[in-house]
């Protein structure tokens, strides 16, 4: 029989929290960010002997130091946010769309194709065609797994994931087909001279239209999820398919419709990447953002404004980390580590939002 000893009580116990005030939630998240920065600082100093403050300042300068850098960070942020906005309805429906990477690429391929083959068209018409084409292509790419899931209940996680590899191979094929100059194994800058199909510059930058588009998507998605019948159906299907059937919702159709939308927005992200930023296409046009955006969408709980904020944070980390890699003579892995540590702490803070720890002998004290 385990007789009672002094301090026989477990050292730490976990208890589920009721719900936390919004201020406390933000506090915990900001706290985790500070701890992450502190931890990274100690690590940087311990390993390289560099002054962490200098490293962080370099990071900041890397992301926001000059106008060009600001725009490049913003561009990255908008890409991430756009894909996350596209993923949001699918994930809210608990449809694990891991295929954004492929949907972006397919959208990019169609955009590039329009730019190459239809460059004689007037610019507004060409841009409209590129817009529509990339959206349709992304939607169709997402349609296939949705139909299979709706009809035969296949696993959408694997299906959408596999579709990425098909899209990557297709991209390779088109890169080889459109190779320019011959032998370079890249497409090069498309329409470098005429700039047909390029986003026109507004307020001195070509990225401005992307920003407008993404902000527009963000607002529309917010309204769509929150105030429309479709949004309501998505929430119900995501919560429980049985409840949805009980309510008379055609679950299969909602799945297909939502994935068409999700794919279309991801396809449009490809359009912006090609027509609005790089003006070329390669297998790295999506560059893993289709996966990073999953983190963005989840961390933000599918809220548009939060998705924009988290995209900004990630874009900042990425540009900043690149800068310290070159400036402080740390290699690329060091910056990757810093990003990893910060993400780890932010994700980990979710645990403390849902649970609290009770230390031995402290029961009942502190917050209830």
């Amino acid at each position: 029989m385990p007789e009672k000893k002094k301090n026989g009580e477990p050292l730490i116990r976990l208890a589920k929290r009721d719900s936390l005030a919004p201020a406390a939630r933000i506090g915990i998240r900001l706290g985790s960010l500070l701890i992450a920065l502190l931890f990274c600082g100690i690590l940087i100093f311990a390993i390289t002997g560099l002054n962490p403050v200098v490293v962080y300042r370099t990071m900041f300068e890397g992301a926001f130091g000059t106008k060009t850098r600001i725009w490049s960070t913003v561009k990255e942020m908008m890409m991430l946010a756009c894909i996350a906005i596209g993923l949001a309805p699918a994930f809210k429906m608990r449809f694990w769309n891991i295929g954004a990477e492929g949907q972006v690429l397919i959208g990019g391929i169609v955009t590039a194709a329009c730019m190459l083959y239809l460059k004689t068209l007037p610019s507004p018409l060409l841009l409209a065609l590129m817009f529509a084409g990339s959206a349709v292509a992304g939607a169709l790419w997402a349609l296939l797994p949705a139909v299979f899931k709706a009809k035969w209940n296949t696993n959408e996680t694997l299906f959408t994931l596999m579709m990425n590899y098909v899209a990557i191979q297709l991209t390779s094929f088109f890169v080889a087909k459109w190779e320019n100059p011959f032998g370079s194994n890249t497409v090069g800058i498309i329409n470098q001279n005429g700039m047909q199909g390029w986003f026109p510059a507004l307020f001195g930058t070509r990225y401005f239209i992307s920003v407008i588009l993404v902000l527009l998507f963000a607002v529309l998605m917010f309204v769509y999820l929150k105030y429309t019948k479709h949004g309501y159906e998505i929430a119900v299907v995501g919560a429980s398919e049985n409840t949805a059937r009980y309510a008379g919702i055609n679950v299969g159709w909602v799945m297909i419709r939502t994935m068409l939308l999700s794919g279309a927005i991801c396809g449009l992200a490809g359009f912006m990447a090609v027509a609005g930023a790089s003006h070329t296409i390669s297998v790295s046009t999506a560059g893993g953002r289709g996966f990073t955006a999953i983190i963005v969408a989840w961390l933000a709980r599918f809220d548009s404004a939060t998705m924009l904020l988290i995209s900004l944070l990630l874009a900042f980390l990425q540009s900043g980390a690149g800068e310290i890699a070159s400036k402080c003579k740390l290699n690329d892995y060091a910056s990757q580590m810093i990003i990893g540590i910060i993400l780890f702490f932010i994700l980990g803070s979710e645990f403390f939002i849902n649970y609290r720890c009770i230390f031995r002998g402290k029961a009942g004290k502190g917050e209830a």
Binding site: M1, P2, E3, K4, K5, G8, E9, P10, R13, A15, K16, R17, D18, S19, Y227, T228, K229, H230, G231, Y232, E233, A235, V236, A239, S240, N242, T243, R245, Y246, A247, G248, I249, N250, I358, A363, G364, A368
Partner: protein, 512 residues
Amino acid sequence: MTEAAISLKHVTKSFGSVIANDDVTMEVRSGEILALLGENGSGKTTLMNMLAGIYYPDHGSISVNGKEVNIRDPRDAFACGIGMVHQHFKLVDVFSAAENVIIGINGKGRLSHRQIADAIRKICDKYGFDIDPDKKVYDMSVSEKQTLEIVKVLYRGADILILDEPTAVLTPQETEKLFSVIRNMKKDGKTVIIITHKLHEVLAISDRVAILRRGVYIDTVETKDATEQSLTEMMVGEKIELNIDRPLVEERPLRLRIEHLSCFNEEGIQKLDDVSFEAYGGEILGIAGVSGNGQKELLEAIAGLQVTMPGASIVYNAPDTEEGAELIGKTPRKIRELGVHLSFVPEDRLGMGLVGDLGMSENMMLKDYTRGRGIFTDKKKPKELAERIRKDLNVVTPGIGTPVRRLSGGNVQKVLVGREIAAAPTVLMTAYAVRGLDINTSYTIYQLLNEQKEAGVAVIYVGEDLDVLLELCDRILVLCGGRVSGILDGRTAKKEEVGRLMTQMRKEAADA
């Protein structure tokens, strides 16, 4: 004075801001059968889980046989001789009875199946159980699984057994069998704590009754001095009328005629077999049966959620038309568009009837969210309805926007029933409408159903408590193995008769 097997001193346990047990000090005497009585959410299970090592108390101390102990996990509990049979069985389906019994025990030497089987048989003979050590759990009936759980804790040498609502899933006959086993255990010197909220069972089996109310320990009384009325008052804290009304409605028009209804579930097992019956407005048709005998499929078939076999027919007669409408092969939305006012309170409240993540207000529009203007949903009317239901039915919630998942079971049910009744149904189907609800809420629900009946609604009430079925329903249909084994008049039917019909088919199959 008998020695205390368990003594709890100032035990407190809270979950977030909810205090499940507040400064509970009580004793369990050695060798007694103690009934732990309390409404749902009064903290019975939480208190017992602290004895079983599932939870750890925030404050207070626990002594077993006079020694203060520290129970940190189930292993500690067994070391103290405490074994608990949980309400939801914790068995491995693909293992045999014997394999389940030895899970988690670190034995020495080779594992001998024969030895274990022998030990199990010995326990069975001693207490009057009936179990086959080689039978797989997936082949077992609910009552067999429960027996196995009890054998499991006895095998581990538990002297103090805690049974959490063991009779909730049993027929009257099976309950009687369980009680005789419990009495045998008492004779053998074991201490038994039984959690229940069925009063007649408390009076039948226990020596003493301990009562909890909203996490607070009220008192322990000798069973021989207690009555159903006195126990209820202690449990609820106020005087309560324990009679259920059964008004007689003169006009009873035909609403639903169901003929030759058969269906299979997803695993290809036949759940309904040639079911035919009629439901009338102005009456409550009770559906009795052991859980899982086709009740769920029957209601879902009527609601348009269950695929049925060819040849079946469900005809709905609207109040103002002569001609009936066939419901078979129609989706829930089609049925609604036909103008059929069918309300359905499903068994799985949060998994089917409501969306747990959404608030009361947004749950109100679940069935008619399509009514909003254009592409947008109308949030105003559901909000008003939510406020009205919250007020009329006393729903306890921080706000109509609070996710209904966070509400207690009783309040969740009020939200669901409130919505379904607000839809002004002509047919109202309820599955286990009072499961897990406290007495006050249960009586509120009975009253709501009676009001609907008096308003001319055809009420179909799937229930598990036979006493309630016999008091509330005008007619009782008994389902057994997916077949209608009898339709009785609720005013004249006897409990034993219903119990017999509930198990009839099984007996016939066993005899064949």
